[in-house]
């Protein structure tokens, strides 16, 4: 189909099928549709919108049709995205299954595995979470100790994962598990898909300094994972995980990009501007100006590297630079938000539900430079892979 025709038809279909209430910006967590066995739609429109998009294969437009997608080309998928954006259409379905497991399954899965797992992801029937990190492992992810012992057609898994987002609401978990006890550190890990609906899997939410969080601890006590649900070869888990981490990194960067409160809007909110709209504190104003410059620079850099990518230059290890710069910048933004809010920023609980939001966002931003590879890890990667500095 010519791209112009595709655009016209897409526009018409969206116009006809996207319910008006699904054409408003996401205002809160509750507006996101995550799917899964226990999912309760927050509105009838949310349900209708998902069903219609599933039918078109447009929850995962670039996936092959046989796996629940629409088999769109890169260009077509981009047009769909543009047209949805043009009417502010919400994403019908978000999930770690779509962002993370999907790409891994498509690259490393067998046809049977794809057939079994991809369509339920595309339809929002199964919600996945990610089990990588472990207590004590941190940046040294490959030092993980969860153990899987082969027993006939399945592995018996024991161990503990942390930072498993939404594990308490998920149906399945994709987890890194040490299955080859005698192999070198990085070569003993397998990538297992584990059904969480079994007694051997339990979860416990983690409370953060910013308050409640989607993060959980997940415990495996003699949990079973079928060998048929091992992605890739035994011991190939680290390779697959690294492939996926690059996806995650890109996600965190775009999250860190500007949007929401900034120190200027914060100062207007707290009244800390003079009659002309100038920030009242001249020294704070200087700090904010330097943030603005770096914000413009980061925005321009994202575009530049994207454009260069479109011209065939790979992002490669420069993703580490974007991750480092973007997250450090986001932390600075939140610090200056708090300064501009002054004592108003200290509010934690109050009459309005939004009371405490700036403080919680400020605290939450501290994790940006830890999750998805710490800033220190990114600097190491830049040193070695971009700057070719010698090893220690």
């Amino acid at each position: 189909m010519p791209l112009d025709t595709f655009r016209t038809e897409t526009r018409a279909w969206l116009e006809a099928n996207c319910p008006p209430s699904m054409r408003k910006p996401i205002a809160s967590e509750a507006d996101i549709c995550w799917g899964g066995k226990d999912w309760t739609f927050t509105s009838e429109d949310q349900k209708i919108w998902l069903e219609r998009m599933v039918e078109k294969g447009w929850t995962v437009p670039a996936w092959p049709k046989e796996y629940g997608g629409a088999g769109l080309s890169k260009e077509e998928a981009f047009i769909l995205k543009e047209e949805m954006k043009a009417i502010n259409a919400r994403s019908p379905l978000d999930s770690f299954g779509i962002w993370m497991l999907g790409p891994a399954l498509l690259k490393y899965g067998t046809h049977e595995q794809k057939l079994e797992h991809l369509p339920p992801i595309a339809r929002g029937e199964i919600r996945w979470c990610q089990g990588y990190s472990e207590p004590g492992a941190g940046s040294d992810l490959a030092s993980l100790r969860s153990k899987g012992v082969l027993n006939g057609d399945h592995y018996v898994v024991n161990g503990q994962k942390v930072w498993t987002s939404y594990a308490d609401r998920s149906d399945w978990i994709f987890a890194l598990v040490r299955t080859e006890a005698d192999a070198p550190k990085h070569l003993g890990i397998s990538f297992l898909l584990i059904d969480m609906d079994q007694p051997g899997v339990t979860t416990k939410p983690i409370k953060l300094i910013s308050g409640k969080s989607p993060f959980c601890e997940t415990f495996f006590d003699d949990a079973k994972a079928l060998v048929a649900n091992r992605l890739g070869e035994a011991g190939q888990g680290w390779e697959i995980a690294k492939y996926l981490l690059s996806h995650e990194r890109a996600g965190i960067v775009s999250e860190a990009a500007f949007g929401g409160m900034n120190p200027v809007t914060a100062a207007h909110q707290s009244g800390e501007v003079d009659e002309t709209g100038r920030l009242a504190d001249p020294i704070l104003r200087g700090d904010v100006a330097r943030l603005t410059i770096d914000g413009l620079a980061f925005d321009a850099t994202l575009r530049r590297i994207k454009e260069e990518g479109d011209h065939g230059e790979g992002v490669g290890a420069r993703a580490s630079m974007l991750k480092y710069v973007g997250t450090e910048l986001n932390k600075r933004r939140h610090e200056l938000n708090m300064s501009a809010l002054g004592m108003d920023g200290l509010l934690w609980e109050g009459d309005k539900e939004s009371d405490g939001d700036p403080a919680r966002a400020w605290l939450r931003s501290r994790a940006n430079s830890i999750e998805g590879g710490t800033s220190e890890i990114q600097l190491n990667i830049i040193s070695k892979r971009v700057l070719n500095l010698p090893g220690a």
Binding site: S143, I206, L208, I209, E272, L341, M343, G345, L346, L363
Partner: protein, 374 residues
């Protein structure tokens, strides 16, 4: 003036260290928080602090105090900071007592200082009206009314305001000068709204609607009441800087302990040069802040006319450094530093709140420039 503690000061510091580690460790703050304590501090702890003689640290001996001076108060505050001990020490024993010392008449001093020294009164300074501290932005008015006054205005985030028995309110009199007034929080026309802040303290927003005050509500013992008001804030800045220093220093100490032990890639993370250089830099910053804090406090005691510059500099530096120490701490802890289970995040929150009180680093840097004549 001396940077080195004398014998009396050393005893005070060591006593405060031991007492607070035992009586008011971080778990005590967590307990207050988790129980939703309405005032955000423990009356029992406050009584015990009075027993220790701390409440009278800035009260003359003739009024039942021990009159040890600001430098001594700073030593206690540093330990309070280290333990995140929630108490009305700064608002009452430092700011409250100093307000009477600087601006009280003999009768006012005789009436209130003994109560402060005995730990019988909790005082809150009702000062700021905007989100960011600005000592000149006072629109609360005390209009003359017979022998007394009528007070009208709105104050925000009065520290310890929820638990205070007495408010000291900055208000403009008809001559446009800022004066301090004693107001009972129970008086007709006074409305307090508790605010829970991120550090689990409970300041209050307080409105005054045509509140009737007697003539002796005005702190009228100072020759220049506005100068007394400004000097009171200088004392508050140095004192708050001392607490912030304790917050930052303990955050750093906790972090050092952690990175000495915690292993990644087969080695303690504190052995990586990237970590080491940042830790060493932070050490230098804390030493700078420590010197300014001590210098500001001793200058208040011995050369008060020269104190404002040092107080502003100390507050600016302590604010910036305590935030940095806690932020670096979270980063060096990594993921667990983000969890409520570990204490480092509580230090970051307190550093932020202490930073805003009486002006943050940007505000106080501006003051330093102004006082330096540029």
């Amino acid at each position: 003036m001396s940077f080195v503690l004398n014998e009396e000061e050393t005893m005070l510091r060591d006593g405060a260290q031991q007492f607070l580690e035992e009586q008011a460790p971080v778990t005590a703050l967590r307990a207050l928080r988790d129980s939703g304590d309405p005032v955000g501090f423990s009356r029992d702890l406050w009584a015990a602090m009075a027993e220790m003689g701390w409440c009278g640290i800035l009260v003359g001996e003739d009024h039942g105090g021990v009159d040890m001076g600001c430098a001594a108060a700073g030593l206690v505050l540093e330990q309070i900071g280290r333990n995140l001990a929630a108490s009305p020490f700064l608002s009452t024993a430092v700011l409250g007592a100093s307000a009477f010392n600087l601006a009280g008449t003999d009768a006012q001093k005789a009436a209130w200082l003994p109560k402060i020294a005995a730990g019988e009164t909790v005082i809150a300074l009702a000062l700021d009206e905007r989100a960011r501290h600005n000592p000149s932005h006072i629109t609360t008015r005390a209009a003359k009314d017979g022998n007394g006054f009528r007070l009208t205005g709105a104050k925000r985030y009065a520290v310890n305001g929820a638990g205070a028995d007495l408010l000291i309110v900055a208000a403009r009199t008809e001559d446009e000068r800022i004066n301090l007034f004693l107001v009972s929080p129970e008086a007709a026309g006074v409305t307090r709204t508790s605010r829970r802040t991120l550090d689990s303290h409970v300041p209050a927003d307080i409105t005054f609607e045509d509140v009737k005050l007697d003539g002796d509500a005005l702190l009228s013992g100072a020759e220049d009441s506005e100068a007394a008001y400004r000097h009171l804030l200088d004392i508050g800045r140095a004192a708050q800087a001392a607490e912030a220093l304790g917050v930052g220093q303990k955050a750093f100490d906790l972090t050092l302990d952690y990175i000495r032990e915690r292993e990644q890639f087969g080695a303690p993370i504190g052995s990586f040069q990237g970590m080491q250089h940042r830790a060493a830099h932070l050490y230098g910053e804390l030493e700078l802040a420590r010197s300014l804090v001590r210098r500001a406090l001793t200058t208040l005691d011995t050369q008060p006319a020269q104190a404002p510059l040092w107080c502003a500099a100390a507050k600016a530096k302590a604010t910036a450094v305590s935030r940095l120490a806690a932020a670096e701490g979270i980063q060096m802890y990594g993921g667990v530093g983000m969890t409520d289970e570990y204490d480092i995040g509580l230090y970051y929150k307190r550093a932020q709140a202490a930073g805003e009180f009486l002006g943050d680093d940007a505000f106080n840097a501006g003051e330093v420039a102004r006082m330096s004549g540029y």
